[in-house]
Amino acid sequence: MGRVFTNLAVALTIIGLLLASITLWLGFTWAPAVNPDDWAAPEAYRILFWHVPAAWASFLAFTLLFIGSAMWFLKRKEWGWKLHVVGAHLGLVYGMCVIISGPIWGTAEWGTPWDMTDVRLNTYAILAALSLFLVVGHQTQGDSEESRDTFATVGLFGFLLVPLTIVAIRIWQNRHPGPVIGGGSEAGLAPEILAVLLFGLFSFQVLVIGHAMLVWAVNDLELRLAKVQMEIDRR
């Protein structure tokens, strides 16, 4: 992997972080307050400027996980396995952001951090747990074709939870607020709030692409180092 790729990964990551910081600043300074009569903790609504983009970023990560798992499992492509590793790492990072920030907001707004009867919360928690299982599994299990097959299978079937999580809010809405993008007139977001949210979604997509390239570059360096060390040992 070339130096250009690594530099691009670092640059995109830094740009993504900057854009995410701008989103946060706009969310706190420019986005208007919501009607205090409609919410138990009106100020806490500003969580959505990072919570929702982080969720979308995690869905992109889980999509990479699915494509990578499929390409490894069906075609034995080495890049497929690398993509699987990238997707698992990013699914965990962004999944943790969502899983931690959501219950904190829930405590403020609902008075409880979790609702076991809410399908979306539970399917998303399983998704995050799945990425945790994969990351820990990659680190503790030896790298063999058999272990790769096992993890790829988990990645393939786990992806089924992504569309289920996305549609769950439309089919079985319980506590979690409805979709803010594509939610129709019910979403009812002020134009400024929607603008900041869209900017946040863009920021996190840039960040997740930068992060994906960063993990790819690290992975590549690890493989190259292992190869060179094997050559040295052989001499």
């Binding site: 990551t13 990072v93 931690i100 405590t107 707004e109 960063l214 993990v215």
Partner: protein, 62 residues
């Protein structure tokens, strides 16, 4: 009971910690691996240059 702003601050601190911490860890790992690879390749290059002479010497000993 803390108000909404406190919960909001805690949530953002947690997310900044996760994303910032993980990014920092990955950048450090990238630097560390680049340095180790450069050192290993330098050693390998050195071994490659002297390797043929060493192997012909050692083959006589074996």
């Amino acid at each position: 009971m803390a108000d909404g702003t406190t919960f909001l601050a805690i949530a953002y601190i947690a997310m900044i910690g996760i994303i910032g911490g993980w990014t920092w860890k990955m950048l450090q790992r990238l630097n560390e691996l680049s340095e180790r690879l450069a050192a290993a390749e330098a050693t390998f290059g050195h071994a490659g240059a002297t390797g043929s002479a060493e192997s012909s010497d050692s083959s006589e000993e074996e």
